[in-house]
Subunit: 281 residues, 4 copies
């Protein structure tokens, strides 16, 4: 439910039910005009980052007119929570940037929530293979249920060999990096086919080694992206048509009063097998 | 003049004057069907690489039907020599991959022949600024004559600061790497604007450091490419319309009998100021 | 099984099992270099059109090297017959030209074999709605089974009103014309949303009226295309991954000796409910 | 100079010098989010159409935050007047929709102001040929000065033959319709090459005949568009770099008090040779 303070909100009125995007967009600046809301000069990823987030009874949302989306009648609100951040992140940074195509071969490195979001949304484009790579057998089992055609547990350090065998030594058309450490990015460099795209989603804290001595003549692309949430209207349409079930990502639900327990659960995901944890009003 | 031996050549006949592309394409394999001739499974960059090149009175060219181009009547044959390799390399790997647009800001790092070829062909798209960066004042002066709007001599190690000042701290929409060493690639990483593209042309011998800790959220792309020469028909059309003068790249001419002197001249380019050296029949 | 006469075929050898594409491509001409095989200067749609077709024990196929596709091991050969013509036609002329997107609203006018091929392949891109329009309730029932989300019988002349109601007066993002008469094309003009695409597949014998007085300011596109079969490798990959079952289109099977009966059945499709009729060796 | 009344304008302040775009964009609606400002649900082309225009001492501009552009320091204000409407119209509807490419062959039918705007902006992409077609020799002479490589006076009804001769019977890659009557649109249908695009700019009052019986298999596209002015930032950048001189379009200047004379002059363009008429403050 929204109520306006400060500059007049005209696109919504008090009482409207809305989706709050994780990215705030002024709609006016150079970047917003290009749909690159993540770099909005007075917005971008500020909620829960440079200002308080939305785990509160009342929230002031910046640039409301261009950062909220009306909730369609009859929509599953739990599913919609996944559209604030995780689903557009996997979709835009991984699937759209990675140009997943019908019949293509895709590898997703990292079967955490964002890797699984990429897995769910990659299927919009009917790739022939989606190969999920992770260290955790439980997550790989989840990935299989979510639509992965093959899984590779990379604990033994032989993921490259395993993947090359699966792809008849061609490598993959799209490699989606969904972890954010050098080892996983460099794995993507080794499995990408000529003409392929490495789409980085991971939040990296240190540099990686780019093997241009092997890649300079391979006709590849590498992309980075902070989610713009520009695909939210499309995702709402796909969700409305029941082409995807993002509630699969929700493993735990807590009341607002039990929020500390929720964080505890999310903080020990390997043990609790938590993917996304929902706080209910 | 061509004369056929081996499998029948049907697209050309003996006596035809033709342009021999530096990349051989069978026209049948998975990669050729995508226009990615550089990765042709039985061709690609083989002339002068894995088999003898074309500095000879008679040459057998592989996959002739799909690797030669008829010379248009009245064409300037010296200009056409530049279309075998250098011009499509600068154009495809730098300008096309870098998606140079009208009004955009472009930096080209390296004012050698291939960087200058990128400079000449970038102007097909009317960018607002083309900033040339090199260590050599002579080459930068050449770049100015060829259409660079700004030049930066990076000898003092302050190219980043200089470029940022020229671009009002925005950086560039397209950064074209035309050297092939870590320092120049990493310079591109520092000057690329959010949403921009680093188009690598350089042949790298060692890895580079990719600062994903700074770039993961910048919405950039990095591309690599071995020239496909798929743009040759377009370049022939542009050349035929006198929209470009690639003979600007030719600084020296030698008779076939003086070929060793030609190599000597090309091998000491800093002293001789050689760009491209032409061997005449 | 192929056996070569005339110019040497090098990409295939006698005994190989191959798919013969309905379009022959020399791989060398201006159009083939662009992937526009339909306009190959010495090929294109010639089989069964300007030369004899393939309903024979032995066939000479022109430009074999670049017009045949090896049959993957274990492939369903009945399904592959649909990849010679009908499936790439619906896919390229309808779905690719129509830029079907996840979450989009698509109308297909005409539920004959080619319209149904567009219906099957449109689902590669997860549109929210695929609305099938036809005069025949049987074909509309088939369309429902093939994945149409809505159907409209246009016998009453009120298809526009019905579609507008289904789309909340927005019209459709993609309208695929799969009949080839003025009435159905002009129906597409009436139901296309601002920014949408009318993708024509139909073979038209007479002109249509283009209502530019209504459409000049609607930001729409209209596309025409003779199938290029350039998407055959992609369709083979999608088929290999069991993302589509084109054998759904096969309603009847006849032995080669009963070929006249096969034509009879196909010629009275309304009565026999024939979609595609297979001739078995 | 702007001064705000009504909803607060935050992107500009009183005293700012601004360019008023001919299209008003709310920045919030479904269409504005796609950059299709022409179809803004509360804006679009309303100035001088459904509400008063800007020929006044004071003007209230709707959706000011997202419909005005700051005038760069040192900019030529006369040139900027051409960026409100005529230049983006020729560029977006003709050149961008028509996908003009380096080396391509372009025809522009109609050498009035909007056709000439297309001519000026088509040169951003270095086409090999721009063939201008009109009935008026004076306008064709202007077109030559503006960069047309060939001109055809179509008074004799033989424009198709003349163009086909100029293009060696290939026709053109892009045909830009800049008149708005059936004869000129149908001329475009006759001169378009296989794979080409007819980009309509003209405002049509009656239907045209679309010869699908000839075009269904020609792999062409036809586009329509009401200018979105989404390219204004790009055009400002190109103008700032002096890559275009739109003041060429200004043939007459009048003081505000002589505005009726200005309209008189513009109303008799054939006699006065007026292209664009400027009203000075």
């Amino acid at each position: 439910m929204i109520d306006s303070v400060g500059p007049a909100v005209t696109a919504f009125k008090a009482g409207d039910r809305v989706l709050i995007s994780c990215v705030s967009a002024c709609g006016k600046c150079e970047y917003c005009r290009k749909g690159m809301f993540s770099h909005c000069t007075t917005g971008g990823w500020i909620l829960g980052n440079t200002i308080d987030g939305t785990q509160a009874e009342f929230v002031r949302t910046p640039h409301a007119d261009t950062s909220l989306y009306p909730i369609p009648e009859g929509a599953d609100e739990e599913a919609l929570v996944m559209l604030s951040d995780i689903l557009p992140t996997g979709f835009e940074c991984g699937v759209l940037n990675g140009k997943v195509q019908p019949g293509a071969t895709v590898a997703i490195v990292g079967a955490g929530p964002v890797g699984l979001a990429a897995l769910l949304t990659a299927q919009f484009y009917s790739p022939a293979e989606i190969i999920m790579i992770d260290l955790d057998d439980n997550r790989l089992a989840v990935a299989k249920r979510f639509g992965a055609t093959q899984t590779i547990n990379s604990t033994d350090g032989k993921a490259v060999e395993a993947l090359m065998k699966l792809t008849h030594n061609k490598g993959v058309d799209t490699a989606i990096e969904a972890v954010g450490v050098p080892a996983t990015f460099e794995l993507c460099e080794q499995i990408i086919a000529p003409g392929g795209i490495i789409a980085n989603i991971g939040v990296h804290g240190v540099p990686v080694t780019l093997h241009l001595e092997r890649l300079w003549d391979r006709n590849i692309s590498i992309t980075t992206r902070l989610v713009d949430t520009a695909s939210t209207p499309m995702l709402l349409d796909v969700l409305g048509a029941h082409k995807i079930d993002p509630t699969l990502l929700i493993t735990h639900r807590f009341k607002f009063d039990d929020i500390l327990e929720a964080y505890e659960t999310f903080g020990h995901a390997a043990k609790t097998k938590a993917l996304k944890v929902l706080i209910e009003a």
